[in-house]
Subunit: 345 residues, 2 copies
Amino acid sequence: MSETVIVSVEALRSRVAAIFRKAGLSSDHAGALAGVIVAGERDGCKSHGIYRIEGCLRTVKAGKVAPDSKPALQDDGTAVVRVDAGGGYSCAAFELGAPVLAARARSLGIAALVINDCTHFSALWPEVERLTELGVAAIAMCPSYATVAPAGGKDPLLGTNPFAFGWPRGENRSPYVFDFATSVAARGEIELHRREGRQLPEGWAVDANGKPTTDPEAALAGAMLPFGGHKGSAISTMIELLAGVMIGDFTSSEALDFLGTTALAPRHGELIIAMSPERFAAGRPGDPLARAEVLFEAIVGQGARLPSQRRFAARERTLAQGIALTADEAAQLDRLEALGLDAIS
Amino acid sequence: MSETVIVSVEALRSRVAAIFRKAGLSSDHAGALAGVIVAGERDGCKSHGIYRIEGCLRTVKAGKVAPDSKPALQDDGTAVVRVDAGGGYSCAAFELGAPVLAARARSLGIAALVINDCTHFSALWPEVERLTELGVAAIAMCPSYATVAPAGGKDPLLGTNPFAFGWPRGENRSPYVFDFATSVAARGEIELHRREGRQLPEGWAVDANGKPTTDPEAALAGAMLPFGGHKGSAISTMIELLAGVMIGDFTSSEALDFLGTTALAPRHGELIIAMSPERFAAGRPGDPLARAEVLFEAIVGQGARLPSQRRFAARERTLAQGIALTADEAAQLDRLEALGLDAIS
């Protein structure tokens, strides 16, 4: 219908970084943000792609994120490495902490990276994937905004609390990576159903009285539900405890109180646990990476899919052929490039 | 209908330990097994109660578990503490490793306990609960027998792979604890439906061709399904990787190959991660234990339940009033006490 513009992954990354620099972000932040946003486009994850630029800039314009904070590493030599993001976006803080975390996991077997006081909008898969490149397995989790009721409840309390995991598969293979919300659906999907006048699938949400509903209006006035009933609810609560309370940072409820809106990127912390398969398997029979491949073959061999395969296929395509932007997307990039923060209403 | 026999928790523990000693288990193993089995009865978890004694003894009689192995602690001062269970039951190995794990988590912030070469039948909640008593938060996981197909697949490959978490709430409160199978249902529940001629709820299982089925016979010939679709499937796969492959121990598929039957307790390993809330929260605003209570109050205050509350209520009852055994259960205990391994067909 409308024409598309083809742009290389590298060229798009430069453009997006330039947009962020123009909006007042430091080079480190601009580069880190452009990295994860263009990774989304590259992997066909439009929901974490260039569409996010505006939200990031809106949060800057609202004065709710520090555009030039310097993430500070705190490392006392224990198994807990900490980065104080100083109220800036989490991505640069992660880039600072990731190599230290991986090295610590390799020397101690297991280690954790805590990111505090960050503004967070990105997916977690770029982070666990980065850690697999550094040779370690990783679990990442964080709170978000209180929009989900605990199983059996009715009030928004938990966030969509993402949970991600990565396992290294060596240099020639994409890692085993999953990253999912612990809510059944994203809030944006409910909004989409509302706009299109469609009923929700059962099990997505409750109304303000805690009754199951398939009406998107009632769902938006009520709460979303965790995936997997009480089990998903328990995992989501664990994330509030470990990646909120335990690390001395906001829970999803406190994050929403702090900003008062879900229209800006939330402030909270993040917890990433890294483990060295080499250290854990030391002295035991078998090579863990080779044994993992047997498991993956048994999954794929019966017609099931490994998570993230669609992403990796899209990546192969876009790295070879470039990313196709719609005319609207290209125009919006031009606009952001020309106007900076003035493009944000 | 039939009369019941009331026995105190302590008296039942002594009797069960004596049964295990008579069957040739060392005092350490007998005491540890009696501890977790009677904890099941005490908490109203009949599925992990005295009904398990026979299965334990059957595994001993089949020569598939070492009745007098000495668990060996391997501690190189890193964040990974290891106990080689020497082919014995896991419970004594956990008892040996737990205090070292908790101490290591308190000094390094995060630490892991690996149990290798153990025979495993117990729930994980007694373990994470024990760790909360030692002041740390804990995540525990292990493979089991391959009876679950990955989402989108059709062949049993994953185990029912339990996932448990505990958070300490101080001395006067029961901890926050969950422990669930990553399959939708337990295999025993499907067997129960078959015997009673009832159809299964949708979503529990697939037949041998991978088609969803509500027929228990077809389900037993096929495979169970993970909870929560592809998300639960991903978590179950993570457990195979971390608590099987990474720690150099059996996956669920290898565990089933090793024994060739699901009628005996499986051999595999276990991974437990412990974190010190005090260490993680150090230097940050707020007391993590007090802040966690705000979260729990917000859950309970809206009519939702915390996990394990039924267990804790049963515990309060049985500690005060004793455990009620049916006449059949009491007779079976008498029989096991009198005959030892000869009571096992």
